[in-house]
Symmetry: C2
Subunit: 136 residues, 2 copies
């Protein structure tokens, strides 16, 4: 983004209001449409692409064949987080935990691989959905 435009401001605003969530491009598009500040889908995609390129935003592959999700990178908040995504309900959990660092350290030292925690999402079942599965 070289220029400041109404659209670029709005997209960033939505991302900031949803720091704790994974949004799809379409969700951003619809949110803005509903609030009476429509921005073209193409524009949403193009901004997300640029924001990812300069690491302002992170892109996550949607669990299955679903669409990709985006989220503000926000290094200071998510550095020591796991991102846990429930494959049943789709919710995203940010779990503050020193274990992630222990794990990264271990993998780096023993296996020579630098894990990028920010790109990594652990898939599984959240407490609620795990209980439901047991009952069914």
């Amino acid at each position: 983004m070289t220029y400041k435009t109404r659209q670029s401001a709005l997209i960033l605003q939505v991302l900031e209001e949803n720091r704790d969530r994974h949004l799809t491009a379409e969700e951003i598009y619809l949110l803005l449409k509903e609030r009476g500040e429509p921005v073209g889908q193409t524009t949403v995609y193009r901004h997300l692409e640029k924001l990812c390129a300069d690491a302002t935003v992170r892109k996550y592959a949607g669990g299955d064949g679903d669409s990709a999700c985006f989220q503000l990178a926000d290094a200071k908040n998510c550095k020591m987080h796991y991102h846990l995504k429930c494959t049943a309900c789709g919710r995203l959990f940010h779990t503050e935990c020193a274990y992630l660092n222990t794990l990264s350290e271990h993998i780096k030292n023993e296996h020579g691989f630098l894990v990028d925690g920010s790109k990594t999402v652990l898939y599984g079942l959240c407490k609620t959905c795990a209980k439901e599965k047991q009952h069914s």
Copy 2:
């Protein structure tokens, strides 16, 4: 698959020959085509879908917006694996390590979340690519 067919055998064969790799549906399709045993894309997709349904094969979201990857589940070999995928060179590493279980246990006990190790891929930089990045 109720019937044994030329196609089902071929697809399984490719998967077995590539136990250590993540293959896309298209790669499977092309591999078979090149070896003179063509199988329709639709058939490849349909077999993969069924193989995933009965847990013979695992499906992974392709790192970016790319296509999904498939791999033989092979419980005995991958139960205690990390799947490490290098975001630079795209290679997949299977890292045998008890840490994964420790991690899963911790998350289950402390955070009430059941991690599905088989669906989870840790993204980052492999040894080789990390070195190259340092030099540039």
